[in-house]
């Protein structure tokens, strides 16, 4: 049975276990109908021209995972930011793992989507926010249809979350192949602040397909500092759909570190719904082998006097492939927009590929929009320079790649993340830099 058919019939089974009286059910119903009609995206669609899902859709995925209780903290520790105090919302094979988590309802909520969707006290919030910024697109609709579990975070007005929140999704491989569809909802009200770290990690070499949807709402003058760490096994694929609605004076910063996975597709969408908004999108991609990373970004400037800054760097080795498809849309009303987009790539080997496609659609006449895209090799002169100081080829390359990725790391506000990412870069290139950067 093809995956699409399997999903459609699984939906009927899914319905047997949920409350059909819940308002959400209508949303799920509409979504599955949409998916039934649209199917999976293919290369004929402009936004999927360079990314084919064919290979990953062939697997016979289990849709309903078995509960796995044998995972202990020591199995997952290295994938967590464990050297600082954080809240942790941990899922194992898509199911909440309370023994690995530290949630809160104290000054704010950092808990479960399943509670938020089912408990009466969250009803009005769910009604207001759930599926309100996520559009009806095939993969997002598919996620909506099966939406059940994920992280639910709500930071009330004026509250500043005192420590970062980690959303961690592990898969254990207790199924031959597993498809998981986390659904996260993050609401940061007026003048509130939060830092979030999200990671999807497989613990075995069995196939995993994650189709994740995260909706984020930033209230007036809210501040969200978000990090996605994508460093998964080459048997795991991730389709990460993130939709961010920003109200006036808010700042949302999103860093995406893509260091591994069979196929990674980031659909990152910012919608600016007030003035004086700042949207920051940064990414570092370093992959090798036959890995594929696709950044598909949208910044929709809908109001005047807003800014957006996009800076994506990619290093592609061996036969790896990358895509950057960055769209900046400036409405007629969005005067004085300041939009910047930059995508720089280094191809290490002849067979590595990057397809970079900036798209600027500007309907306002008094704006400052710029974009730049480069594709190149490591600078031979710089390598020679470092070698004349006694730094061997491998280390010199590592240092250059670090230097290349560095200005993306500059804006990382959590030092432990910066340190880890730096180490990860060195590790990927197979050297120790010998100092803390």
């Amino acid at each position: 049975m093809k995956l699409k058919e399997k999903l459609l019939s699984s939906y009927l089974a899914f319905e047997e276990n949920i409350d059909l009286e819940n308002d959400i059910h209508n949303i799920r119903d509409e979504a599955i109908k949409f998916f039934e009609h649209s199917g999976f995206p293919d290369k004929k669609q402009e936004a999927w021209k360079y990314t084919s899902l064919n290979a990953i859709l062939k697997e016979d995925y289990s849709i309903f995972p078995k509960k796995e209780e044998t995972i202990e903290y020591r199995d997952i520790k290295k994938y967590c930011i464990h050297d600082i105090d954080t809240y942790q919302i941990v899922f194992v094979d898509g199911i909440y793992a309370s023994h690995l988590s530290q949630t809160t309802h104290d000054k704010f909520d950092a808990c479960l989507m399943s509670s938020a969707l089912n408990k009466a006290k969250y009803k009005s919030i769910i009604k207001k926010y759930f599926n309100k910024v996520a559009p009806q697109e095939s993969l997002t609709a598919l996620n909506t249809a099966f939406s059940y579990e994920g992280a639910y975070i709500k930071i009330p007005k004026g509250v500043s979350a005192e420590k970062p929140i980690q959303i961690l999704n592990f898969s254990t491989g207790n199924e031959h192949a597993l498809m998981i569809q986390p659904r996260n909802l993050i609401i940061v009200e007026d003048n509130a602040q939060v830092q979030i770290i999200e990671r999807h990690q497989s613990l075995t070499d069995n196939a995993v397909l994650t189709n994740s949807v995260t909706e984020i709402f930033a209230g007036k003058n809210a501040n969200i500092d978000y990090y996605k760490i994508q460093n998964d096994k080459v048997t795991s694929s991730l389709i990460d759909n993130t939709y961010i609605s920003q109200d006036r004076d808010s700042e949302v910063s999103m860093h995406t570190f893509s260091f591994g996975g069979k196929l990674t597709r980031n659909n990152l969408n910012f919608y600016q719904n007030g003035s004086n908004i700042n949207s920051i999108l940064k990414g570092v991609t370093i992959i090798e082998g036959k890995q594929h990373v696709d950044h598909n970004t949208l910044v929709h400037h809908r109001k005047p006097h807003c800014e957006s800054h996009q800076d994506y760097k990619g290093i592609f080795a061996e036969k790896s492939t990358g895509v950057f498809n960055g769209k900046v849309l400036v409405d007629k009303i969005a005067q004085k927009t300041d939009a910047y987009q930059s995508n720089n790539n280094i191809l290490i080997d002849d067979q590595a590929t990057i397809n970079s496609k900036p798209q600027l659609e500007i309907f306002a006449d008094d704006v400052k929009c710029s974009h730049g895209c480069t594709i190149g090799q490591l600078d031979e002169e710089a390598l020679f320079y470092m070698k004349t100081r006694g730094i061997p080829h491998k280390e010199a390359r590592a240092l250059l790649m670090y230097a290349f990725a560095n200005n993306v790391l500059n804006s990382v506000k959590i030092p432990e993340i910066k340190k880890r990412i730096t180490k990860q870069i060195a590790l990927k290139i197979g050297v120790q830099l010998g100092f803390d950067l």
């Binding site: 710089a382 004349t388 006694g390 730094i391 061997p392 280390e395 230097a403 990725a405 500059n410």
Partner: protein, 250 residues
């Protein structure tokens, strides 16, 4: 220390060095002068191990062993240092971290452990003070938005830290005002010992007023056509290179 015999080198099929002979002994300062495009910088690059250039004939002996097959970093490990005419910018890596990396990589190649942190710090303080460098300068990204003078001073700082046996200074004076030139030359002079040697490559005699050479060579069209003492540099300054070319023809 350095013995170059009948060195021929080319880049992309274009012959640049056409039989260079040169011998430098410990304790000596040699200068190579010559018009634009005569092959001065190529010679510096080839000795330092730039793989862009292909050595087609001849040999380069350093401490009596042929280094032609060694990579640039291996040559640096043996004690060869090249100060660049145009030093490369490396954003995100501070001057201090860069030099730490270089020193420890050289020590690693020599089978030594990393230099202890306090020793490193002491050395950095000492050498940067010698060159009149501001402490803030050390934490800036390497060469990034440095002025011409700062870049050259930073090259000499690295040289001071690495203490090479043979330092090759490629157009170290270009782009420097006279005060910066004095500081840089003063630094080079302070680093001189009876065991190390310096090869100064320059267009102008000016630098040689401050770094006084034992031997001056004139490189024209890929060959050393004349060698002499420091007075040769003065003569070149006054008369240019044409008279030498004519002398060659005769």
């Amino acid at each position: 220390m350095l013995k170059i015999h009948n060195l021929h080198a080319e880049v992309e099929g274009e012959k640049i060095l056409k039989g260079v002979n040169l011998e430098i002994n410990p304790g000596e300062v040699h200068a190579i002068m010559g018009p634009n495009g005569s092959g001065k910088s190529t010679l510096a690059s080839v000795v330092a191990g730039n793989e862009e250039y292909e050595v087609t004939e001849g040999e380069i002996l350093f401490d009596k062993s042929n280094i032609a097959e060694l990579s640039a970093d291996e040559r640096a490990h043996k004690g060869i240092f090249l100060s660049f005419q145009y030093p490369v910018e490396i954003p995100g890596v501070s001057v201090t971290n860069f030099i730490k990396t270089a020193i420890n990589q050289i020590r690693k190649a020599q089978g030594l452990k990393d230099m202890p942190a306090n020793e490193m710090l002491k050395k950095i303080r000492e050498k940067s003070a010698m060159l009149g460098m501001d402490r803030k300068f050390l934490s800036r990204s390497l060469n990034e938005s440095f002025s011409g003078g700062e870049k050259k001073r930073n090259e000499i700082f690295q040289m001071a830290m690495l203490e090479p046996k043979l330092a090759i200074l490629d157009e170290t004076d270009s782009g420097l005002d006279i005060d910066a030139l004095k500081v840089v030359a003063d630094g080079v002079n302070k680093l001189r010992t009876k065991d190390n040697a310096t090869l100064v490559i320059t267009h102008y005699q000016r630098l040689l007023d401050y770094i006084v050479p034992d031997v001056v060579h004139v490189l024209v069209d890929g060959k050393i056509i004349k060698s002499g003492d420091k007075n040769l540099a003065k003569e070149l300054e006054e008369r240019g290179y044409d008279w030498l070319k004519e002398e060659q023809l005769v």
